[in-house]
Amino acid sequence: MSEGIILGIVVFTLATFLGFELIQRVPPTLHTPLMSGSNAISGITIVGALIIAGGDFGWISQYVGFGAVVLAMINVVGGYTVTDRMLRMFRKDPEES
């Protein structure tokens, strides 16, 4: 196995534990925004999509890459926007907004 993959596994494992720690303390009130917010984060696959779409691989870039960018962008933009919409309602003092 290459060094890259081992480093990847290490990072993956540590990040999983970190995720457990971070999420366990979120109060149930915020679970829906948490879900849509973390959903938006999973749109990070946009990075891969951009690399495919921006490359020079003929139909793979043009069609598969385009499809991947579209789907990932819906995920990212939709996820963050809708989460923000929800969280705006959770603010304690409406006067501030």
């Binding site: 990847g8 993956f12 009130t29 879900m35 999509a49 990212v76 705006r88």
Partner: protein
């Protein structure tokens, strides 16, 4: 353009912003800011990718970003708060679909250029495609069920589990074959991805509409893992970090929900349960009896009750009945009774959905102390009982915990002195 080697460090900044953003979701006060931070992290990741040397042409990217971004923004702005679970399911599916396409493109790219794939890259391509496919079609079925475009009842057929197991084993066999044989077998890959798409459908159809919250949380977890697998494929750490964070958070949420329903995750996934909201059961597991009473009887009992706990459900929010409940609470208080609210963590159609629905009412979100006058001034159907609910909720499940969330609130609910419990549709009284 940027100097080589800088990109991974900037990706690290993105990853850190995701982590800090998630941490800030722990409190309603910082949550919005946290979401913003995580969004900035995403923006940074996108910009770095675009500036990196690997991008040769921008036409396809610009088209994709405009179409996808526009669609996403439009969906997010137009969706109703009651439809939030469907929306999250759909977005989730798109995320999984994107991961599938990226993994697939990497595979086809290797086939096109003839460059041999490293074995671990090949393994992660197979895994990413499998998980991405299941997320895509599974989320889509969840969407259809929640949108009531297909039956919310569990769809079952004879030997279903055996059939599902066979499909899964075939996928594994094809994936292993793909990895161990030199070169790329494109047909095998398509067959594997096709069966994975089928598996997503098969896994979600036997799960009832009422259990969809758990499924969405789980699919959320899958979409994260799919993104992490994509990170392995394209050798990018930020995808691995972000994907793992989402993967673990989804898993925790599904677990919390299963606990709240007193069921195991396996029971939810394979039990073909939860088609209808359990109606006629008259005895709870603790041996308490549930009595349904007429409206007149309920009015009488409420008039003399000392403590009333309202447990709002999805129906209450859909019917916009918040202000009626508020009036009822005022009447009870006038008669010397005390009114409290308790929200079940899986009330509504996804975890915490009820809180979002009740927070939607734009006015009356004052602190507990002065909510009475505020709500009356604001008037009309927008009067909200939300402040009570939000506070009641955070301490509902674990009594010792609640002081941490809402310190100013008196600890009343923990003593379990229920006299009357009102649910949204009918009146249920628990003695």
């Amino acid at each position: 353009m940027m100097p080589a080697g800088l990109a991974p460090l900037i990706y690290l900044v993105s990853a850190a912003l995701f982590i800090m953003g998630m941490k800030r979701l722990q409190s309603p006060d910082t949550a919005r800011n946290g979401n913003m931070m995580s969004g900035i992290g995403m923006l940074i990741a996108i910009v770095v990718t675009l500036l990196d040397q690997q991008i040769l042409s921008f036409q396809v990217i610009i088209a994709g970003v405009v179409v996808g971004g526009g669609l996403g923004f439009w969906m997010a702005r137009s969706v109703k708060m009651t439809s939030m679970p469907q929306m999250v399911a759909l977005l989730n599916g798109f995320g999984g679909g994107a991961s599938l396409l990226v993994a697939g493109a990497e595979f086809l790219k290797a086939d096109m250029t003839g460059a041999p794939l490293a074995i671990e890259t090949n393994v992660t391509i197979q895994l990413g495609s499998l998980i991405g496919s299941v997320t895509l079609t599974g989320s889509f079925i969840a969407f259809l069920k929640l949108q009531e475009l297909m039956t919310g009842k569990p769809v079952t057929f004879p030997l279903q589990k055996t059939f599902n197991a066979l499909v899964f084993l075939s996928i594994l066999a094809l994936a292993i074959w793909q990895v161990v044989t030199p070169g790329q077998q494109v047909e095998i890959y398509y067959a594997m991805a096709g069966l994975s798409l089928l598996l997503g459908v098969l896994l979600v159809i036997p799960i009832g509409g009422a259990d969809m919250p758990v499924v969405i949380a789980l699919l959320n977890s899958y979409s994260g893992i799919a993104a992490a697998m994509t990170g392995f494929v394209i050798d990018n750490q930020v995808l691995i970090v972000a994907g793992a964070l989402v993967g673990s958070s989804g898993l925790i949420l599904s677990n919390i929900m299963c606990k709240a329903m007193n069921r195991s995750l396996a029971n939810v996934l394979f039990g073909a349960f939860g088609g209808d909201s359990a109606g006629g059961s008259s005895k709870s597991s603790e041996g308490l009896t549930v009595n349904e009473v007429s409206v007149e009887d309920a009015a009488l009992r409420l008039a003399y009750a000392r403590l009333v706990i309202v447990v709002p459900g999805y129906g209450l929010a859909v019917a916009q009945a918040q202000h009626v409940v508020r009036e009822l609470a005022d009447l009870i208080k006038k008669n010397g009774g005390e009114v409290k609210y308790a929200i079940h963590p899986v009330a509504g159609r996804m975890p915490g959905h009820m809180n979002v629905l009740l927070a939607e009412a734009p006015s009356g979100r004052r602190r507990v102390g002065d909510r009475g006058q505020r709500c009356r001034q604001s008037g009309g159907s927008q009067r909200s009982i939300q402040p009570d609910l939000r506070h009641a909720d955070s301490r509902r499940r674990e009594c010792p915990e609640h002081h941490r969330h809402e310190a100013q609130h008196e600890p009343g609910v923990c003593r379990h002195p229920e006299r009357v419990v009102l649910s949204s549709k009918d009146v249920h009284v628990v003695w």
